[in-house]
């Protein structure tokens, strides 16, 4: 029983990070059809920037905010140099560009910050929190809380705001969006920056409890993508549901079946769910890509 | 109309429900060999839905579809090789050439096997040559033979429609369903297409024409079916149908009516008509 609680807590924490990354996938996909495989690199970038700023003597909170904004700005520059110039590529062409971006970012991080892992102090001091017999670091609450706040905000953003409408329209039909006066390039840029910012936020949040290393980006991208598809690609609700489910599936698989086969179990579950629900748990907007 | 023989296609009490919306409501109709039937009705009346049900793209919520007296309600679309159709919103194979579009249909369920396809060889080349010739004839028949080698994605609207007709003919079907094939065609092309459609009837095909252009309906068809809000409003001859008061009210105009039909949800459609 204690174990189950512990796995649940771990699952929710990990799942929340997946959810944040998946939300970033959702954002960029919804506004420009870009499946951004560099998303995981922005997680790491956020972490690295936060560490770097913190080491200059900034207070932790400011370093965190600075890292998120900095990552978004870097994402903006990257977008202007690359994706902004190729608006007509199809989904997979765009995806490949982001794979290239991921590789470049990863290598740049390696060259700038080296291969040493980094971390940050926890946001709030204190002993592990005991919940129903399980324990979790206070930092995990920050992680889970942020994912849970981000989801409704994004949901409202997509469904209730003018720019959210524009994003949905732009991904649904680019030509159509131009015809109604949406500046699809700007929308895409904005979404890319926002998505990167979300990912960076994830990186900042987990820096105290895990490792920040140039090498971990791909793993996060794959997990975030998995979560997004599992929940239903393109749906903010789906991103969070998918992220949390994936986290829980992983931890329970590892906890009750085998840690060696933890990913196998998660992948098998994903396959089964996709086959039963081709559009994901919540239902994807992306019928075809 | 020959009601004594078995119908080429028959819908019996077909209902098609989309969530809360009833696109077809207990519709029964028949198409006969050698007869061109027009299906008309206001926008959203269920015409395309009817074609989708007959061609197997949609399974009806209830009711049955018969071909030559046999029930095929649940047969998959790709098995209904006796039934060919076109699409209201054009669905040509854009990455293939015009000719290849037709070839696909000619070879879809017949021709050499996978193993021979891998090995190639003179047998395959011969079969390919023959089928290309046949495809070209069909393209010529609809008048776009000169476009055979164009990539279909570059066709203007009008020629896309003609290509869809050629592709439908390539299936060597018994039944041909044409969903607004004449729309977007110039008057001249439309006139020629009408001739083609008539000749199909004369050749023994059962043809269903969905159209909003009454001239085209009159030029091509003897039988008429009118749908209104998913319900059958009229079946009979074209000549009588176009004079029918109900049809005029619901579809052709001259007067408006408040008769909304039994379906609650679509009441305001009536205002439109």
């Amino acid at each position: 029983m204690d174990q189950a609680i512990q796995f649940t807590l771990a699952g929710l924490t990990t799942g929340s990070i997946y959810a944040l990354i998946a939300l970033g996938f959702t954002l960029t996909y919804n506004s420009s059809g870009v499946v951004n495989f560099a998303q995981g690199e922005f997680v790491m970038l956020g972490g690295f920037l936060a560490v770097a700023l913190y080491l200059t003597g900034l207070p932790l909170g400011l370093a965190a905010v600075g890292a998120v904004i900095g990552s978004a700005l870097i994402a903006g520059i990257v977008h202007l140099l690359t994706l902004s110039r190729v608006p007509k590529l199809d989904t997979f062409g765009l995806l490949m560009v982001t794979v290239g971006i991921a590789i470049v970012l990863r290598t740049l991080m390696l060259l700038v910050w080296g291969s040493e892992e980094r971390s940050l102090p926890a946001f709030t001091d204190g002993e592990s929190i005991h919940v129903l017999g399980g324990t979790m670091p206070p930092q995990a609450l920050w992680v889970i809380g942020t994912a849970l706040v981000a989801m409704p905000l994004l949901y409202v953003f997509f469904t209730r705001t003018r720019i959210g409408d524009a994003m949905m329209a732009a991904s649904d039909n680019r030509t159509g969006a131009k015809i109604v006066g949406i500046r699809t390039n700007r929308v895409a840029l904005f979404a890319f920056m926002l998505g990167a910012g979300l990912a960076a936020l994830g990186g900042v949040l987990i820096a105290p409890i895990t490792t920040i290393s140039f090498a971990l980006g791909l793993e996060f991208s794959v997990k975030g993508f998995t979560a997004a598809v599992l929940g239903g690609f393109g749906s903010p609700v789906g991103a969070v549901v998918g992220g949390l489910s994936l986290g829980l599936i992983e931890k329970f698989g590892a906890g009750y079946i085998s840690t060696g086969y933890q990913d196998l179990f998660a992948l098998a579950t994903l396959l089964v769910i996709l086959i039963i629900l081709p559009r994901g748990i919540v239902g994807s907007r992306a019928l075809e890509a | 109309m020959t009601t004594t023989t078995t119908a080429a296609v028959e819908l019996r009490g077909v209902t098609m429900q989309f969530g809360g919306l009833r696109a077809l409501s207990d519709v029964s109709l028949r198409l006969d060999h050698g007869v061109v039937t027009s299906l008309i009705g206001p926008n959203g009346a269920g015409k395309t839905t009817a074609i989708n049900v007959i061609s197997g793209v949609l399974r009806p919520t209830s009711g049955s579809v018969l071909v030559n007296g046999e029930t095929i309600t649940n047969q998959a679309a790709e098995r209904r090789t006796d039934i060919a159709r076109t699409f209201q919103i054009s669905q040509v194979f854009k990455s293939l050439t015009v000719l290849e579009n037709v070839v696909v249909a000619l070879q879809a369920d017949s021709g050499y096997g996978f193993g021979r396809a891998l090995l190639g060889g003179p047998g395959v080349r011969h079969a390919e040559k023959a089928v290309r010739r046949e495809a070209l004839e069909l393209l010529d028949r609809v008048g776009i033979g000169h476009l055979a080698d164009r990539e279909a994605s570059t066709l203007p609207l009008g020629q896309e429609r003609l290509l869809e007709v050629a592709r439908a003919l390539a299936m060597r079907p018994k039944v041909i369903l044409l969903d607004e094939v004449a729309s977007g065609l110039t008057a001249g092309d439309r006139h020629e297409l009408a001739g083609l459609v008539r000749s199909l009837g004369a050749d023994g095909y059962a043809v269903l024409v969905v159209e909003h252009n009454m001239r085209f309906v009159q030029d091509t068809s003897e039988a008429l079916v009118v749908l209104n809000f998913g319900e059958l409003l009229y079946t009979g001859t074209v000549a009588e149908g176009l004079r029918d008061q109900g049809v005029m009210d619901a579809y052709l105009g001259h007067a408006t009516t408040t008769d909304a039909g039994p379906d609650e949800e679509v009441k305001s459609d009536a205002a439109l008509s």
Partner: protein, 240 residues
Amino acid sequence: MLRCHDVSVAYDGLKAIENVSIEVPAHQTVGIVGPNGAGKTSLLHGVCGIVPLAGGTVVFDEEDVTGRPTPDLVRRGISLVPAARELFPNLSVHKNLRLGAHTHLSSRQGRTQAAADLERVLEMFPILRERGNQAAGSLSGGQQQMVAIGRALMARPRLLVLDEPSLGLAPLVLGEIFDALHNLVASSDVSVLLVEQNAELTTAFVDYVYVLDSGRVVNGGPASEMTRDDIARAYMGAEA
């Protein structure tokens, strides 16, 4: 209002229209007719910035707008109803229509205006009110056409560009739409550039007609002066 001078459009280096010059004066309706493949759609797309121009200039409101991106042109008041409709298939009918007014929605005034416009469009196409929450992609063909037209009207264009608006519309609705367009032109300062296969409708509706063939303007004149024959010839082998 709109002047196109020597406009060309090319696909893969091949000219679909070449040196086409047309003019749409303010408060006027202009039609373009011609056989399939003449280049009518290409011309409209070139004007609206959907495809790049291979040559020529487009002047709108005495301002050179050649090469401007489509969203810019929309902001200046050019709205297109494409033959391919280009709806947002996964979004609701309401969202589709509201997005038509996208450029106005940033101001409070624009929003109230848009609400009123939406009301007008829904009155014009009552069926769309019924289907407000349905995904536009699952509408019937004619219903989709209504959304396309309605969406363009929501933008409060000063030049409305229509590519084959009659496609898929039932006769009754078609008549109503053209009546409504007529009223619109009469009551506001909207100009219309229309491509339409339905010759009767076209000549009855427009003030001026250009005939396009093989990518060139081959004829043109006030609609009243164009004989039925002129038009028929434009469509090639016509029956009437």
